[in-house]
Symmetry: C2
Subunit: 122 residues, 2 copies
C-alpha cells in the first residue's frame, strides 16, 4: 500500500495548520487512487509531527511512503531538517520504503500554476 | 502593458530570495507573452520590497499590475499585510490598475502539482 505524507512547516495559527489537513483530505479524493493512504504532518509547532505521521502511515498498512515537503523554497527545512527527521525515523520501520519527494517549488508545473493564479485575478 | 509582480515572503538566506528572482525570470520565458513585464518582490527582509516592485512595473510602462502572493497558506501575510501595502501604494499610481491575485495555495491546480511532485520521487 502506497502512502503520501504531506509535510508543511506548521504554524502557531491553527487555521493555517487546518488548511494543510483539509488539503491532504482533498488530495485523497483527487489522487485517483494513486495513493491508498494520505496524511498531513508538520515539521514543527503543530501536530502531527513527522515521526508520528510516518507511524500513522505504517499503522494504516503502508509499505511505501512518499514524504512530500509542502514548501516553496529549498531552505534549511527542506535541505536539512526534513531529511534528518525522516532518516532518523526510517530504522524504526525497516519493512517500509520511505522516500522524500522534491519540494513543491521545484515542480515543473509551478509555471502553469503561477500563470493560472495570476489570470484568476478579478 | 500588463505586469505580474511575484511577491514572496523574503528570507535572511539570500539563496532563497535568489530562487524567487530566478523563478520570476523563468516565468517571463514561460508566460507566452501574457505578461509584458514580470518582476519579483518581497514582503520583508529582502530587496525589492512591494512598493518598489510596483514602482518598477510602472516605470517599465505597466498599465495593469497583478500582484501574485507566492504563499501557500492564507495567513496574516496574505490576508492583511500584502493587501495593506498594496492599497497604501495604489494612490501613487492612479493611472495603473493594480490587483492582487489569489495566493498560490488557493489554486485549483495545486492538486495536480502535489501528485506530480509525489510521483517524481526517485
Amino acid at each position: 500500500m502506497k502512502a503520501l505524507l504531506l509535510i508543511a512547516h506548521g504554524s502557531r495559527r491553527q487555521q493555517s495548520n487546518d488548511e494543510v489537513v483539509v488539503l491532504a483530505e482533498k488530495l485523497k479524493k483527487n489522487s485517483a487512487g494513486q495513493y491508498d493512504i494520505i496524511h498531513a504532518g508538520f515539521l514543527e509547532l503543530a501536530e502531527t509531527l513527522i515521526p508520528d505521521g510516518i507511524k500513522k502511515c505504517v499503522d494504516d498498512g503502508a509499505t511505501s511512503i512518499v514524504v512530500l515537503p509542502y514548501f516553496l523554497n529549498s531552505g534549511r527545512h527542506v535541505i536539512e531538517d526534513i531529511p534528518e527527521i525522516v532518516n532518523a525515523t526510517k530504522p524504526l520501520y525497516p519493512e517500509a520504503d520511505i522516500k522524500i519527494a522534491p519540494h513543491l517549488g521545484a515542480s515543473e508545473l509551478m509555471m502553469d500554476l503561477l500563470i493560472s493564479s495570476a489570470n484568476s485575478t478579478r
